[in-house]
Symmetry: C2
Subunit: 250 residues, 2 copies
């Protein structure tokens, strides 16, 4: 059975998250329904990473096996036709061999977090940014972010529901930059703990507000206790930006 890799973009607002759940519509389910309409068979869609309710994606990865070969461009066009009216779209597709797995073959995930820092609430970007009606010191946040880069026990930034075997992760990068009226936090790692990005953002905002220093972030990390770090930033501002595979280097 031919296997296809899909790059998926979605607006997370109407969904309970990436993963199929009994309590509402998921991105995975609408993709699987679209695949069923395309090929007439129940097809499992495997994602590169789970996203929570309200979290968006610019480049979520996914793969699926279809009962016959359609051509990657046809798969993309047909899935997009069947995905309507949901705000989910396949923005790229390619055929991959059957040893490829969207989740297990991934060597790096990258996220973007958008914070709108202005007095006026968002209108066009409502639900797509975290609105903080005050200025944040992006430079101080970026300096403090460096404390978290590298291999650490991230228990202080881990949701209690997290199912990972170990709280030790290697954070490849974590940067904070001002982009117009927004602060953008970008980060990448092989994998993240549940809520790790949102908990890191919530903590860095304390630094941006001048309430915490980089040393406070280091202490929070060293405490290995969720209570030691800052609050969880809302889902609204979070975007699964892209996933990287071995062959992307080639």
């Amino acid at each position: 059975m031919p296997r296809y890799f899909l790059t998926v973009e979605y607006d997370g607002r109407p969904f309970v998250g990436w993963q199929r759940q009994d309590n509402g519509l998921s991105v995975q389910e609408v993709l699987e329904v679209a695949a069923f309409r395309l090929c007439g068979q129940q097809v499992r869609v495997h994602g590169s990473g789970r996203t929570d309710a309200g979290v968006h994606a610019l480049g979520q990865g996914a793969h699926l096996d279809l009962p016959r070969a359609y051509g990657a461009r046809t798969v993309m066009k047909a899935l997009n036709a069947h995905l309507r009216p949901h705000p989910v779209a396949v923005v790229a597709s390619r055929e991959v061999d059957d040893t490829f797995h969207a989740r297990f073959s991934a060597i790096e995930r990258a996220y973007l977090y958008r914070i709108l820092t202005r007095l006026a609430p968002p209108t066009l970007d409502r639900g797509r940014v975290w609105w903080l009606p005050r200025d944040l010191d992006a430079r101080a946040m970026d300096d403090a972010a460096r404390v978290l880069i590298g291999r650490h026990d991230f228990s202080s930034f881990r949701a209690s529901e997290c199912q990972a075997d170990s709280p030790v992760k290697t954070l490849g990068d974590l940067r904070v930059a001002r982009v117009g009226e927004e602060i953008h936090v970008t980060t990448r790692a092989r994998s993240f703990l549940h809520h790790q990005v949102r908990n890191m953002v919530g903590t860095l905002v304390l630094v941006g507000e001048g309430r915490w220093t980089a040393d406070d972030v280091a202490s929070a990390l060293a405490a290995r206790s969720r209570a030691a770090a800052g609050p969880t930033a809302p889902a609204d501002g979070l975007y699964f930006d892209r996933v990287r595979y071995e062959e992307d280097n080639g």
Copy 2:
């Protein structure tokens, strides 16, 4: 009575347009209701320009007179509080003298038109771009756009419902540029005819598709007949970007 100038941002999707109408909710009405809640009196809000149903604004101008002085920042914050849950926000405000008029004092309006040119439909930007699932030649569009710059009879780009006294307008600028997956058309003039921007965009897209040349655009302009130019681009991609006043030069 103190007069305030407001810079207003909105998502045009839920509205019948800027102007109060009997057939649905307008941006003007929600601003006037917010002003009533602030000061307890019926207040008229005057816009710098009308926008049609579904057209957005990044920087619509408006002014209103309030029965007493509040301070510009207080006006902005209070209006924003009262504007909820509508996707309309006052992003800047300042007190102006009573000779100032948001519409009549304006010396230039600028619009942005966004076209998404990719095979996959928009998700996060649905309703906020014109989606064309094919490539457009931005350079050819930009070359053809120059034909329209300057003082002309724009009858070919004028909606039949247009109430302007004359079809002669001076187009200050009209540019087309590729920005990632999008084509951005930017234009400015003292004032525009009804649907002029959308009709110019619809015509330039014919050029981008290779169906028309710059000479065809020149012929369409010279014909002074709506039937001679291209179709009206949809409201989705249009943004009232900003308005300029005499004092902005100072």
